[in-house]
Amino acid sequence: MDRIPILRMGQFLLVTIQVDLYDRLALDLEADLVKMVSKTGAKGILIDISAVSIVDSFMGRIIGNIGVMSKLLDAETVVVGMQPAVAITLVELGLPLKGVYTALNVERGMDLLKSKIQVIDDEEIDPDDDDSDDITE
């Protein structure tokens, strides 16, 4: 049985989909990814779909679901390398993938994830700063 490998890279998980997704494979990927996020405590997921040329509404929903699920587990999802035809299909199907971030290629996706993590870290640090300011005042 095929499985799509999930690579761990520091705080991030990397998924490269090199084959056309069929339903079973997509469902397995969803389950594996969510398990992996909770096991490793990853902060971000990068899904490369540059090799995917065909999508249907099911695939669109699975990708959207992965975004929402990982958000619940405190991880951001970035989908990179979508082909024009795939983008048009998803829009025509009424699936604008609201829950996920998108980037043009893996490099930009990584930058985006890093900046997102940084923003989150800054926000977590900010309240402390405010507190310390209050104290000094």
Binding site: V79, V80, G81, M82, Q83, P84, V86, A87, I88, L90, V91, E92, P96, L97, T102, A103, L104, N105, R108, G109
Partner: protein
Amino acid sequence: MATEITRLFKKNQAAILERWMQNQLADAGLREDLMSNEDLRIESEELIVSLIRALTEDNIDDVNSADFDHVAEILSGISISRARQGYSPRETCLYILSLKEALQQVLNEEIQDVQEQLIALLRVNKLFDNFSIVIFETFIKGREEVILRQTDEITEISTPVIQVWEGILALPIIGTLDSSRTQVIMENLLTAIVDSGSSVAILDISGVPTVDSLVAQHLLKTVSATRLMGAECVISGIRPEIAQTIVHLGIDLSGIVTKASLASALIYAFKTLKLEVRKQGSFKTT
């Protein structure tokens, strides 16, 4: 008497051509600017020769006879080329009608008996009515081809994707947006984003005359698709009237970045890319 018509035409072939040319040249609407008299003569002669060769006593009453295929072919060729050159329907039609006139004149002179003359005229008339239809049909077809080609060209021309800066694309939309055009625009834009690796696309709609809910939906689709590709889409060039229409129609564009002019959209794009444009030398003071 039965063999008379074809024989008469064969005998008077040169005279018919002369008369026909006279008829054509006498016409006030002759387009010497589009075709020289020499070319016209060559063209006319070819038609007469092939017509008289094809014409027999058996097929003169059978307008659909295969014998006339070659004649119809020549007529179609002439008609289509005239349609492309910009002849009017009247001018094209007069071409064949003046040949009919020439033939009738010959019949008129050669056949003395009134009854026979009438019958002969009627037969020729019927044949030429059919040729007129062929001319008319192919003329329209030729014009339609011209229209189709122009439509294709307009769709191609009217959707240029311009790279205004590294990473910034602009797409000025001119004319009404319908489904098929949106599709072309979307495809062009998305392909350009992939090719150039741009991260901001500016959709300028100052050339769109009206925005109704359908057009707005097409715009929203384009914006969503751009976002899916990993780029941001800004809509610019929203005129006051269009802003009014959008609000009156209750269209929600709140999820989209909109700017009044292309310039402000460009400034926004620079900001997104963390670029700065400033006057030369001004950085010294800061």
